[in-house]
Amino acid sequence: MTVISEWIIGTLILLGALLCLIASIGVLRLPDVYTRNHAASKGATLGVMSLLLGVFLYFLLIQGHFNSRVLLGIVFVFITSPVAGHLIMRAAFNTKIPLWENSVQNDLQKKRDSEKKFNEN
């Protein structure tokens, strides 16, 4: 039983660390702020959630006590990390940081332009 749970915990923690590495490679390599934030907020959140699930299962199955603080940490990261990503990207868009020159779709700018035209008329 302990060996099986050790394998499960090891797989979860290693998968989480690898997802964090992939997210950081995305932040290193992608071309502009918006795509970099996309890599960081999704990849790092998923990686650290898997890793903390492994830590929670370790304390539950091997040490034998239910640790509610790790569960609270998982829920907190899951709620707040996309919100933080959205806020900082809205601030970046409003301070007019340009998109990558090869990007083809900019729906928010289109919406802002149509609103401005509507207000002028």
Binding site: I13, V33, V48, H65, N67, T95
Partner: protein
Amino acid sequence: MFDAIMKLSLLILAVSTLFYFYRLVKGPTVPDRVVALDAIGINLIGLTGVTSVMLKTSAFLDVILLLGILAFIGTVAFSKFLEKGEIIENDRNQ
């Protein structure tokens, strides 16, 4: 075997924090640096979890929640400062 996997995960997380640190130093714009700083906070949560598994103690697990809250508050404050130029708005300022 289990200990080796934990050490490997710690190494991978350290390398990933190093990549974020490169983006934090070099990043062309301010939101780049804020994104990298937020992700470093998220990575520190993972490092704390793996360390507490390696040392077989649950004493460090309060730090996870605290780091999560601090990273979130820091990012929100930075984004509000970038957008409006002030963090806490007061009626007397206008």
